[in-house]
């Protein structure tokens, strides 16, 4: 984590915009132009690629509708709850596995096998247990979130500088003090990283579940728009979701970068 970035100063032109930013803007404009061209070309079925104007109109309508925010709230609540339950249990299990060689040998290979399994295959079971309401989505999101957090924390725990643990012991820190004042802060980077991964898969799991079988939430709205061939509305919702996902990720990243290590 050396701050070598300080040395590499990119020359900033008079307008205050770097060439990289200009290129990025150009790419976006290019994509939009091609999109709009396709929309008017008549080569594709109507509304598979709707015009930007139609999407924009629906976007505006979406952002001013109370119903949309209600469903957004439902999904956000599901993802948040999933992250809370899956994340905290993932951290607890990760610490246990990282601290105990025996437990790690016994259980960690199961986590590695279950981790990449698409959790959506468990959705029918979740519906049986929790019904078609938000509970089954939370359950699926939790299940998705748990694995990357647990594995990342377990690996992070093993990478803790051993001398810091000896320091804590030499000052006679109790078990709880060791966890709160040494293990957790020493692992903040892998934990944040795990939560970031966990957030991603919790979002995917929850939305996927909503599109399968549900009666509210963003996934439900999207699949509803799709099944009624309201493509502009569907695209508008995808755009909002995209922006929200980026925002959530940036928030988690910012949270973790508060005190960067500058050792070495």
């Amino acid at each position: 984590m050396a701050d070598t970035g300080r040395l590499k100063q990119v020359a900033v032109p008079a307008l205050g915009v770097s060439p990289v930013t200009l290129l990025r803007i150009a790419i976006i404009l290019g994509v939009l132009a091609v999109w709009e061209f396709l929309a008017h070309s008549g080569w594709l079925y109507r509304d598979v690629v709707p015009s930007l104007l139609a999407i924009g109109r629906d976007l505006l309508e979406l952002l001013t509708s109370g119903n949309y925010y209600f469903n957004l709230g439902v999904t956000a609540g599901e993802v948040g709850t999933a992250l809370l339950i899956g994340g905290s249990s993932g951290i607890a299990v990760g610490i246990l596995l990282g601290a105990n060689r025996f437990m790690s040998k016994a259980f960690e290979s199961y986590l590695y096998y279950l981790g990449p399994t698409p959790k959506i295959i468990f959705f029918p079971i979740m519906i049986m247990y929790f019904g078609i309401g938000p509970e089954s989505k939370v359950a699926l999101g939790t299940l998705s979130c748990f694995f990357p957090v647990a594995l990342s924390v377990a690996a992070g725990m093993r990478q803790i500088d051993k001398v810091l643990i000896r320091v804590g012991k030499s000052f006679r820190a109790g078990t709880w003090q060791m966890v709160v004042k040494i293990y957790l802060p020493a692992m903040r980077h892998p934990i944040i990283n795990g939560i970031r991964l966990g957030l991603g898969v919790a979002l995917i799991g929850t939305l996927l579940a909503e599109t399968k079988l549900s009666n509210k939430g963003i996934g439900f709205l999207i699949i509803n728009a799709y099944s009624t061939f309201d493509m502009p509305r569907m695209y508008a919702m995808l755009i909002v979701l995209f922006v929200l996902a980026i925002g959530a990720n940036a928030l988690v990243g910012r949270f973790g970068g508060l005190h960067s290590i500058k050792r070495n």
Binding site: K169, F171, P185, H259
Partner: protein, 280 residues
């Protein structure tokens, strides 16, 4: 000649009694420390010196209560230790500051553990930060400091716990020579100011003679007490003492003891390397 200088436990605050440590390795059991006994008197600066592989660091861990697979007894003021003892403060050889804490929060760490209120512990921490000469760096993170400064933070952190006995394992080993000398001065000054009972583990003869009241010379594996040397140099001392004639005599005397052990260690290492080479 060897263990004759063992002081009676009546005057010593820290007593190591017949310490023996064996390690199991794939190549069989290794006797790391063999029947080592000594005592540290209140206010005394005692150094344990020996070549690499004499079990110095093992001894450090046993006295610090971080290693409990030893035979023999370590006691502080008559009380046998069974783990890290509140009267013993350890300073480690490795980089050991907490990178996520500021200098103040690092130094206040032991005070935080015992539940001292924030305002009070910050004030105490400031006191010890000043003592190691780091005023003005209170709110910096360790990553913003040099290696020597970080080691001073570690020292201040241990001093803040106000241990009866300061136990240090080659605290300057990773530093360059100039920093090491200046830091040695600082430690000497603090030790004399606090009348701090100190046990220093080192392989550096100059450092040991400069600071110590007594030096315990250890043999190469298994680590035994080879000799205990009284350093009869005037106090208060500074690093200038290294140019005095009597200083030179002590260094020469200890080096003649140590050379034998160090070359024995070197031969053992060479033999080991040869065997490894033949086996592969």
């Amino acid at each position: 000649m060897a263990p004759a200088a063992t002081p009676s436990s009546g005057t010593a605050i820290l007593v190591a009694d017949n310490i023996t440590v064996r390690f199991e390795t794939p190549e069989g059991a290794i006797l790391a420390v063999d029947d080592v006994s000594f005592g540290v008197r209140p206010g005394e600066f005692l150094s344990v010196i020996g070549p690499s592989g004499c079990g110095k660091s093992t001894l450090f861990n046993v006295i610090g209560g971080l290693l409990s697979t030893h035979q023999g007894v370590v006691s502080v003021a008559g009380e046998t230790i069974t783990g890290p003892h509140k009267s013993i403060g350890m300073v480690f050889q490795e980089e050991s500051t907490f990178p996520w804490r500021t200098v103040t929060d690092n130094v206040a760490f032991p005070l935080e553990l015992i539940g001292m209120p924030k305002a009070k512990r910050v004030e105490r921490a400031r006191h010890f930060i000043g003592m190691v000469g780091l005023d003005g760096f209170e709110n910096r993170f360790p990553g913003e400091l040099s290696g020597g400064m970080r080691q001073r933070v570690s020292l201040a952190r241990t001093l803040a716990s106000e241990p009866k006995i300061l136990l240090m394992d080659e605290p300057f080993a990773a530093l360059d020579e100039q920093t090491r000398l200046l830091l040695g001065d600082k430690v000497l000054q603090i030790q004399q100011q606090l009348k701090q009972t100190t046990l220093l583990i080192t392989h550096n003869i100059t450092e040991a003679v400069q600071m110590s009241d007594r030096i315990l010379v250890m043999t190469y594996r298994p680590g035994k007490v080879k000799r205990i040397v009284d350093i009869d140099l005037p106090r208060p001392r500074t690093s200038e003492i290294v140019s005095s004639e009597s200083f030179g005599r002590y260094v020469a005397q200890i080096w003649s003891d140590l050379r034998e052990e160090a070359s024995r260690g070197m031969r053992a290492d060479e033999k080991h390397a040869l065997n490894e080479g033949a086996a592969s």
